[in-house]
Symmetry: C2
Amino acid sequence: MGVNSNRVENFSDHDNDTDHPQAQTIIRVESLPLPQPQRGVHRVSMPPKRTTLQKLKQRLAEIFFPDDPLHRFKNQSWVRKFILGLQFLFPIFQWAPEYGLRPFRSDLVSGLTIASLAIPQGISYAKLANLPPIVGLYSSFVPPLIYSVLGSSRHLGVGPVSIASLVMGSMLTESVSSTQDPILYLKLAFTATFFAGLFQASLGLLRLGFVIDFLSKATLVGFMAGAAIIVSLQQLKGLLGIVHFTSKMQFVPVMSSVFKQRDEWSWQTVVLGISFLIFLLGTRHISMRRPKLFWVSAAAPLTSVIISTLIVYLLRSKAHGISTIGHLPKGLNPPSSNMLYLSEPYLALAVKTGLVTGILSLTEGIAVGRTFAALKNYQVDGNKEMMAIGMMNMAGSCSSCYVTTGSFSRSAVNYNAGAQTAVSNIVMATAVLVTLLFLMPLFYYTPNVILAAIIITAVIGLIDYQAAFRLWKVDKLDFVACLSSFFGVLFISVPLGLAIAVGISVFKILLHVTRPNTVVLGNIPGTQIYQSLTRYREALKVPSFLILAVEAPIYFANSTYLQERILRWVREEEEWIKENNGSALKCLILDMTAVTAIDTSGIDAIREIKKMLEKRSIKLVLTNPVATVMEKLHQSKTLEYLGLDGLYVTVGEAVSDISSQWKCHA
Amino acid sequence: MGVNSNRVENFSDHDNDTDHPQAQTIIRVESLPLPQPQRGVHRVSMPPKRTTLQKLKQRLAEIFFPDDPLHRFKNQSWVRKFILGLQFLFPIFQWAPEYGLRPFRSDLVSGLTIASLAIPQGISYAKLANLPPIVGLYSSFVPPLIYSVLGSSRHLGVGPVSIASLVMGSMLTESVSSTQDPILYLKLAFTATFFAGLFQASLGLLRLGFVIDFLSKATLVGFMAGAAIIVSLQQLKGLLGIVHFTSKMQFVPVMSSVFKQRDEWSWQTVVLGISFLIFLLGTRHISMRRPKLFWVSAAAPLTSVIISTLIVYLLRSKAHGISTIGHLPKGLNPPSSNMLYLSEPYLALAVKTGLVTGILSLTEGIAVGRTFAALKNYQVDGNKEMMAIGMMNMAGSCSSCYVTTGSFSRSAVNYNAGAQTAVSNIVMATAVLVTLLFLMPLFYYTPNVILAAIIITAVIGLIDYQAAFRLWKVDKLDFVACLSSFFGVLFISVPLGLAIAVGISVFKILLHVTRPNTVVLGNIPGTQIYQSLTRYREALKVPSFLILAVEAPIYFANSTYLQERILRWVREEEEWIKENNGSALKCLILDMTAVTAIDTSGIDAIREIKKMLEKRSIKLVLTNPVATVMEKLHQSKTLEYLGLDGLYVTVGEAVSDISSQWKCHA
């Protein structure tokens, strides 16, 4: 300890000089060479002295490197460090050397299974984003390959996802029509994808992964349910065969679109759509009941596509009302880096869309990765995942792909099909490659209505009403955040709904800080335990003392409140004493255990309380301040202000020491 | 306790059935009829059962009525209640019945003293807001009268203040020129004043007073210093006699204006200005050194005005370069309710200006009121003050006044001059009335330069570099907030500078929540005290246990971080044990004392940690959860999930009980 802490040491020594022979129940353990057991009380220690720079360094390390990513490199040889570094940057090197035939068999099966899901999903989700269906297939080819090299999850199935597709479609369509200006729309989609990737990769690189933590689970439950309903309603366009449909994403215009265009409803489309929807929902139900039969729902989309294509092909002369996908170009992803749109007036739109879709797809990808990693007991590094997902989107934007991430449905199927490593993603990409090169003409007669049915089946699983019910039961404010993001998305707009929900979540934190709890403590007889009087019926009030536990950091946002609230406790206690003829209040003990931080306003509040109490001849004592609070009390010279016996390690020691002083003086 | 808590009770009883004869050092105090001392441990109590409605009610009471404003009405007769209610609404009834000649003498002296300050200040500040000087005098007449009836502070000197005048001037001038369209400008000023009052009164009525707490002291220190410098620089216009000057409020345009118009500098003005500035600063210095001589600085402005007016009058044929106030209309405040501008396109501007000036003047008024109330040991009710200040601004806007509040300089003079009640405000208003009716022609020759000197002297006191230095010493992030509001105001704009500073303050709260401290605890030998190992050198690690104190509520914003951080502590502990051949880690104790709240994500994190630890055969134990956390653990069935002995009242009891179990099983 340096020069600055001498004052505290002196001050404690001073405290030490006053002898209290009565205080025999408590023991002083000295760290100085002069132990005086059975006499004093424990001294509140200052935290080890650190410079501002050291504190800043530690603080930054906690903010940016809480997982201590370099701990593997400690005490290793240079060669080993190089290999570890390579494995750190490219997780493929972790498992590739030990890769063999046995895991490959599993990966082959699971890869082919997710391919059968990925192809119809890719086409459907691209339509959800108002993009040409082929872009969905492109996006199931390049990104999975890149992820298999860079990603640290072994079960993540990579590809386009419904939420990000929906959001991209709705945000871009508000400014640019995908039918009137398809080239500009496509350019903007790739540009938004590029910015999404850039944003994701920078979050990872700057280790700002905690940003996505602000999308709380409650927010996401509401958001997903709202988005799922909007998406399902939008699919009524395909399901009813409507041609002229609104491009808006809110509940009201979509529903009015559905009912205004009743003359466009086509009964053939409706019959086909409803039957396949029932089929798909049925297979989904089976797989949910028996997880072993996961392949039933996994194979259902491809089966529906094949059967419905066959039906339409056979009835092609009769069923004119049924719209089909039509011609799809054969061949690999064309390069699209020349299509990035980096000038006004749409740059801001592309950046905004990229940010929103980027953060949403990141949240889904990381949550999915963590879920399956937890099931198999391995770690997924959030910041590394962000870089992997970001890199794959940046590369994707240059090869005609739009936003991709780890998809929940794909990853679940992948996991259930027994995937061992990211090789299953490579197998899937190969299957998509074959499709792109040779099988595109087969989709000519695939009806659009089947894609609508596939999308509805996929998004319906996002409505987690049980989770919403749990939120209601456990935390009402979480439930409000959930509801507001639900209704925000449904009736206002996707980004605004999200923003409202994040706002409510942050407001909840601020509310907790602005109006913290204060609890009156009492002693549990025969022990040194002090607990809440309202909770512990056995706890008893200590005469002449008022013991308050403050349950929050003391900040500018609550210092005035706490000051007034504490003085109100004192006033009420005095009134109670008057009515009950109790012994006069002589000491207020503030238990600071839960005061995890204090700022300058908080310190002013403590001084103010001390001043107010002095006028009523009540003593103020603080117990057990945490390290940072102790530091600030010292730096602001509040320790001196509190006086010689204004600070104790525990409430118990404070009570015994102070009462023995009173006896001594009496 | 209702049905729901039975499970917990049963669960505790279960715990009770397992006998641990070794656990003799700890005592069980039962609240059930079967006490079994010397045998078990204390049970963690559920908080008293309350319905959602009850909880909501209590929460709302804490948010909106933390001061329990109705406590005076309890157990009183109806007549007494009526009188108390009248006194509650109109604090004048509290002191008026006992008012006598003796306090009146004090109030007369102090009222005349502040009038001598208020008249030149009123004229100067109105010029600061680009308003006609007479509006400043109007604003020193009606608002003080209204405040004296409604206000609860006895020392507040009411009138226009520099900060609010400056902000109003700068915000309105950005859209409307006060020289080219003076009528529209005046209308907007009254409208903004009306909205400021409406906003202030509604904050008070809705008991949302805590909103102003978000302007932390750190923010205000920086903001005031920045504003003071900008205002002083702006006064160079008057001090140098420049005619063409920028209407902008930023540092760069103001300084370039000063130096570009060098040919307009007038040496007569400069000489006059500098001499009076030195005189005013000198008197200020004297009063600050000797508080008893407060009247020296209080009387200085009026003296300067009189002397300088005389000088200019005598030299009127020679000194053409010196601009004067000129003709001021005689007479009382004209009504201005017909001048409220409630239609587009300037309504939004007026509302915005009203909000910003309203919150700033409210902050100043309440801070000043509290300061002087604390000196004389009486209470100022924040919400009531807001309503009083709001009402006086709404009334003011209808009688040609602009934004007023409790002014620091006026209140300090008022207090030092011995004011006893709000009657001193009435005296001041009367003095202003006399001035308005009879003395206006006397100001014809008053030079503008003297107003500039008065303003500079007033605002220079707002630069509190000592407070900034204290912030730097105690809290670096508070200092950053202070600096950013300082530079934001100086270089960007007043509202944006404020917004940035509030943003940083809120970010600081979020940062604390996002990256909370976790501390490893050890036992202080011979006691049941567990304290931080890094802080208390005498504290010792307990073999086979890892005891962590989490120092924050567990929220969505930190649940992932905490989960990873806690598992990292476990990993590091295991590595340490390996290196030192210690006994294997068997139990992780999380001390939840400082976990003041938990949400659904936090509960998921706890369950996740439990699951991860189970895989490593490490037991998870929580100690001392606070009431709300206990409730949520119960509602989410996490208590059952934690198992029979997963919960203790104190760390000490957890350690002794679990080690005795191990001994028992060994």
